[in-house]
Symmetry: C2
Subunit: 222 residues, 2 copies
Amino acid sequence: MNKFKIIEIKKSIYSSNDEAAKEVRASVEENNTFLLNLMSSPGSGKTTTLLQTIKLVDDRYKIGVLEADIDSDVDAIKIANSGAKTIQLHTGGMCHLDAKLTKQGLEELGVEDVDIAVLENVGNLVCPASFDTGANKNAMILSVPEGDDKPLKYPKMFKICDALIVNKIDTISVFDFDMEKLKERVFKLNPNMKIFPISAKTGEGVDQWVNWLVEQTSSTLK
Amino acid sequence: MNKFKIIEIKKSIYSSNDEAAKEVRASVEENNTFLLNLMSSPGSGKTTTLLQTIKLVDDRYKIGVLEADIDSDVDAIKIANSGAKTIQLHTGGMCHLDAKLTKQGLEELGVEDVDIAVLENVGNLVCPASFDTGANKNAMILSVPEGDDKPLKYPKMFKICDALIVNKIDTISVFDFDMEKLKERVFKLNPNMKIFPISAKTGEGVDQWVNWLVEQTSSTLK
């Protein structure tokens, strides 16, 4: 098992989140690192998608991961075993990451040798949507079993994301899930959303998502 | 379509939640109403489970529902169409319901003619676990696609609940889900948890859950 560090996060008392987000942006730009904020419900497959992403990005870019969890290290263990530089952030009950916690995490991760830093946010479709982490791009995962009505119920998350990964498409035959209805609802909230149907389990469609990520990275880095 | 009222909730500014929870408890006791707080991730099947529950409880008890959503009325419409008295609570971005919001909702619902009031909380495994709503019992739903590792990642929710409904068991063959491992993890956090594997879609197992709910109600009401 690869080693990774655990940070116990203190509650971010001062609410100057936008200021801190600017600092994060400046710092990743200075370090020539692309920062991605990855969000979703619990159990939508963030970690499995990330493992597939790390595999497909391969040696084009070096990936580092900040794993945010209320408790437990199960996901960080899996990511660290993939060979990616990993930091476990324990949020101590907090339901989202803000820019200050992201900054703290990036300092601990050490981004000098990291091209793409991925923030695996707390599993939650509500709170993370309200906090700018300073990331270059926001991506979210919706899994097929959660249903095609989620944009109606959690609109803010769908509005603030640049990319939507629709995971677990290998199970679509056992659920009442209408991909066209989902797209219609998403584009109504966010006409510029890039949508990538994938199965992180079988690998189907992951290449399209990774191509987008690599494009975003190459156009951001110097 | 049956009619229901929509309340736009103001943020609960004063944090005397425990005091408000006591008031809710006193008020439902006085009205001879059993209050259930139902929680889960987004897309785990709260509304479908509730529809099956209303059907099976039938004329033994009269059910009223408080539907908490950040936005949209899709779930309230479904519940109201079942004939149950329904109130839509719009939380305006808030990620959970607290006791004050519950009190406001119950007043609007009018519990004089309601035996079981169900609070369908915001889809979120994190924040609702930290706020006592004043309910007699807390129940949660975990759906099979979310995975058997969720007690490790969201322990507080599993600690504070009296009953765990494991939904979507009709899809268990397409997921890597170990029911025994789940039970072991749950009982480690909460040895008294009642666990009900169900399929809200097919109706399988729902009778066991409803029997438990009816028992809790009959032993609480005068």
